[in-house]
């Protein structure tokens, strides 16, 4: 029997150093065998015999050792995992406790994170939904948009059916091509007639997009033939809204434009193409005589690339096709095929707007991060004693950093949670603000990729703002730590400088945002001041889409329009009423070919064309400069007439009158005589001066879709109901849609600019607040540290205003450094900014001055609060305080 004695301390350290599980197992078993052999020897066996006997008695030592080693290693791993977990749990608990103990600090950090990360998340969800998320088609990257390009500078125009048919037959790079034409449908189910936006598409439309219906089927090519085309595929939204999602609707007929049409399929909920506005798809039937027109088109086209075919290959192949067509048809001479990935084409200009906004909100997040880092640094300063004691007790620097970071986890978890709520609220607030021309807004929301983004941002921010203060706090050597504990008043100069750097950075970034916001605001003002050439004030616009099934002849349509005009004109409060087939600044443009009698086609500029009624110019106050407007006498059978704008007149007939000259759209069309010259107006956007304009006369160039413009004495919207009633009194089944004051139409054309300016101004405002909070924090802390010094100075005769000036000077120094850096940043961002400004230069002096002044005033106010506290110090009290 043995008695246990304590192992000497040095042996334990040896084991700590070695900590070798295998060796321990061997030691234990070896000890056993040796003791056993020794007993045998004591009973008289020879040493080697004794050893053999001991081994026999034991069994197989290597097997036992192997078992023990495996067991001990497993136990060791489990123990270490438990220990690590408990360390983490302890630090988390510590963090949670600190959070509760310092509620102001915690709230400041959590709120800053929630705002910064929430804003970034909201903005990113828009960017993701619009720019990054793949289109909900099969292999969406392989779908391209095709269009007709007029050489040399005519630009992009719609596709004609003749060209599309030839492209389809002659290309070698596409699986298939599909033509699309927008159509308007009045659905006269139960209740008021409703106008629905539809698309007439080739049967290849669905295979090109690789989409399948939820219910039923899509079209066959047989249904593109006249007499077979009365079938329709409905959008999921329309199906739910008008048919309560009843699947028995498939196979039944519904009245579309007064024609019984068989519902053959329902699309899936996520299918929105060409856009969310589209509620139905019908087969595209093309009358045979249309194929003689090669240049005048009204279709858009999409295609799917064959596997392995690149965009460049497709472009060069289509170049060959269009060259062949140009040789064969005279009218094709100036035509080339344009081609771009569908997604890029849909997103278009929104990309720049959104990326700039994401960048701006990212800058805002950085400013917020600086505030959080500042708070953490400040807290690190107040916890010096605690850290110093820990350091003195032997806590390693790694351990202190690890602890500081784990302590932040509850803060950041709470911040991230609130950030998601903020983002959800932000998205909800943002969606109605998004401009009507922003594509793909239906795919904006908080989804998995957005969550992944937020998580990444939280982690990056945590490492960014957490590590530095932790390292700074841990860097304190033991000696200085102890010294600080005993002295306890002077701030560590290094960290004070770190906080100054943060504030300078904040001021610089805030200034960048402020300058950008000022530039955009001034641009918006400049754009709004642009003279559009017409007066949208007190004008109501209402759209009409005439079903050709009901009014097959152009004369029928024209007489319907005439009757509508008469009824509306008779309404009380109406001063003038006209129609145009496409509203100015209503989005989209309409260009076409033009031939002028006696002028070589090279000298004919690209023009905008519109079909209008006689009083259109009067309703919009577009001046008639020369000649006359259309009149009731210019009927369908009267000589064909046209009106041009002053710009075309100046360009083609400088110095002479164009009245009496002739022009036409196509070589095959009849000549129209110019009877008047009107003022030039902005058609496409306010910012862009559009092309010269030609107006056709409505009975002579029919349009299925017209916008009524009604100049009123009172509020334009108030007239909507009576206009609708007037239209119904002409045809009870005729719906109207998109009723808006023309003012609003003009504003909507500035949608993206409005959004950008509004959001950037909000960001700049928040940045201003955050930066001034940052400056306040640093100055206030500095004042708190130097109260005794101020007391001494005042005891020695310094006046209150001297002390205030001292503090403000320090704030002013920070501001000057920050402002210089910010001005440099803004100056460096000129390239980005210059694409957004309008009417002002990207280095617009007033913007820079106003932004700098605003930031200066606000940061000085932020510094004045602690300065006043410094000046109110009672010298005797300050000298006594520790």
């Amino acid at each position: 029997m043995t008695t246990k004695r304590r192992e000497p301390t040095w042996r334990r350290y040896q084991r700590l150093l070695r900590s070798d599980i295998g060796a321990d197992v061997d030691d234990e078993l070896e000890f056993h065998l040796e003791m056993s052999a020794r007993d045998y020897q004591a009973r008289g066996l020879a040493p080697d015999e004794a050893r053999r006997a001991a081994r026999e008695r034991f069994g197989d030592p290597t097997r036992v050792a192997r078992w023990l080693r495996r067991h001990d290693h497993a136990q060791d791993r489990a123990r270490r995992a438990r220990e690590a977990m408990s360390t983490v749990a302890m630090n988390l608990r510590l963090g949670a406790r600190n959070l509760l103990r310092q509620p102001t600090f915690a709230a400041a950090v959590v709120l800053t994170l929630a705002l910064g990360i929430g804003g970034t998340t909201a903005m990113f969800s828009v960017v993701y939904g619009v720019l990054l998320k793949p289109l909900p088609f099969g292999d969406p990257d392989r779908v391209v948009r095709l269009w007709t390009e007029w050489k040399p500078s005519f630009g992009r125009t719609a596709v004609s059916s003749a060209n599309a048919r030839d492209w389809r037959a002659q290309n070698r790079v596409f699986e298939d091509i599909a033509l699309i034409r927008n159509g308007n449908y009045s659905f006269t189910g139960s209740g008021e007639p409703e106008r629905l936006q539809g698309a007439r598409v080739w049967a290849s439309f669905f295979p090109v997009l690789r989409v399948t219906p939820l219910l039923g089927r899509t079209f066959t090519e047989a249904e593109e033939r006249f007499g077979h085309e009365n079938v329709v595929v409905l959008s999921h939204a329309l199906w739910v809204r008008r048919f309560n999602g009843d699947s028995s609707i498939v196979g039944r007929t519904i009245p579309l434009n007064g024609v019984p049409t068989t519902v053959i399929g329902i699309m899936k909920p996520d299918f929105h193409f060409p856009s969310r506005a589209f509620d139905l798809w019908v087969p595209l039937t093309i009358p045979a005589d249309e194929f003689q027109f090669r240049t005048a088109g009204s279709y858009s086209a999409i295609a799917r690339l064959k596997p392995g075919v690149t965009l460049d290959q497709a472009r060069s192949d289509m170049h060959v096709v269009s060259s062949n067509l140009a040789r064969r048809y005279r009218n094709n001479a100036a035509l080339e095929v344009g081609l771009a990935p569908l997604h890029d084409d849909m997103v278009g200009g929104a990309r720049r707007t959104l990326l700039v906004l994401l960048g701006a909100v990212g800058v805002l997040l950085l400013i917020g991060c600086a505030n959080v880092a500042n708070l953490l640094l400040a807290r690190g300063l107040t916890r010096r004693r605690e850290l110093a004691v820990r350091t003195a007790l032997g806590a390693s620097r790694g351990r202190l950093i690890e602890q500081s970071l784990t302590e932040l986890v509850p803060l950041f978890a709470l911040g991230a949670l609130l950030a998601l709520l903020t983002a959800a609220g932000g998205i909800r607030a943002l969606l109605p603000l998004l401009p009507a021309d922003l594509p793909r807004t239906e795919s904006i929301g908080i989804n998995l990729p957005v969550l992944a983004f937020t998580t990444a941002v939280v982690i990056v921010v945590a490492l960014l703002v957490g590590t530095w203060p932790a390292v700074a706090a841990a860097k304190l050597g033991v000696a200085s730590a102890i010294a600080e504990v005993s002295r306890g008043s002077t701030a560590a100069p290094g960290r004070a400088r770190a906080r100054d750097v943060l504030v300078v950075g904040q001021i610089a970034m805030a200034l960048l945002l402020l300058i950008s916001a000022a530039l955009l605001t001034r641009s918006l003002v400049a754009v709004r001041r642009v003279d559009a050439g017409f007066n949208p004030d007190h004008v109501l616009s209402v759209h009409l889409a005439i079903p050709r099934t009901k009014y097959p002849l152009d004369n029928d349509v024209a007489s319907l329009y005439t009757r509508v005009l008469d009824r509306v004109q008779a309404l009380p409060g109406v001063m003038a009423v006209g129609m145009v087939n496409r509203l100015p600044l209503g989005g989209g443009n309409q260009t076409g070919g033009l031939q002028i009698d006696g002028v070589a086609s090279d000298n004919v500029p690209s023009v905008e064309t519109r079909t209008v009624t006689p009083d259109y110019f009067r309703a919009l106050e577009i001046p008639v400069k020369e000649g006359r407007s259309f009149t009731a006498a210019d009927g369908a059978d009267a000589p064909r007439v046209a009106i041009i704008d002053e710009r075309l007149a100046r360009a083609v007939w400088p110095g002479t009158s164009p009245i009496g000259r002739r022009l036409r759209e196509e070589p095959s069309a009849d000549w129209s005589t110019i009877v008047g010259v009107v003022g030039h107006i902005r058609h496409t956007t306010l910012e862009e001066d559009s092309r010269p304009q030609v107006y056709w006369n409505y009975p002579q160039r029919g349009q299925d879709r017209m916008a009524l413009v009604v100049k009123t004495r009172g509020a334009p919207e108030a007239l909507t109901r009576s206009v609708a009633a007037a239209v119904r009194s002409v045809d009870p089944d005729q719906p109207i849609y998109d009723a808006r004051a023309l003012d609003e139409v003009v504003d909507r054309s500035l949608g993206q600019r409005w959004l950008q300016t509004l959001l950037l101004s909000i960001f700049a405002g928040v940045a201003l607040v955050l930066a001034s909070i940052g400056a306040y924090g640093v100055i206030a802390y500095g004042v708190g540290q130097r109260l005794r010094e101020y007391g001494v100075r005042m005891a020695l005769g310094a006046r209150r205003q001297d002390v205030v000036a001292m503090v403000l000077r320090r704030g002013g120094t920070l501001f000057v450094f920050g402002a210089l850096a910010g001005l440099a940043l803004a100056g460096g961002s000129v390239r980005v900014l210059s694409s957004f400004v309008y009417g002002v230069g990207p280095r617009d002096v007033p913007s820079f001055v106003v932004a700098t002044l605003a930031l200066f005033v606000v940061s000085m106010v932020a510094c004045y609060v602690p300065a006043r506290r410094a000046a109110r110090v009672d010298p005797s009290v300050a000298l006594r305080s520790d």
Binding site: E7, S36, F58, G59
Partner: protein, 114 residues
């Protein structure tokens, strides 16, 4: 030697080991000696199987192990009963005695085997 055999022995061997530690901490060899001396070699225990059994008792928190120095100044691993182990030994021993008593009673009952 396989794990199965350890398991087979474990129930009773564990009880014996716990009992051996009732007098105070012992190292593995001392436990083996105690078992040998106390049972007079009736329980044929392969000594190597003792160590896995010790680990299992340790895992269950019935004993703890600690390195110490043996009577001849060698480094040795000492095993000691925990309070839990002590309670466990008490209840298991009672159950064992009850069980073996019952078996003995059955085997002694008439008609005798002879």
């Amino acid at each position: 030697m396989t794990d199965d055999r350890f398991d087979l022995l474990q129930g009773t061997l564990g009880l014996v080991v716990l009992k051996s530690l009732l007098g105070g901490p012992l190292h593995g060899y001392a436990i083996a000696r105690w078992v040998h001396d106390t049972t007079g070699d009736v329980l044929q225990v392969e000594e190597g199987s003792l160590y896995p059994a010790l680990r299992r008792l340790e895992d269950r928190g019935l004993i703890t192990a600690q390195w110490g120095l043996s009577e001849n100044n060698r480094r040795a691993r000492y095993y000691e009963l925990t309070p839990t182990g002590r309670r466990h030994l008490k209840s298991e021993a009672a159950r064992w005695l009850e069980f073996s008593g019952a078996v003995t009673q059955v085997l002694r009952a008439a008609p005798s085997l002879a």
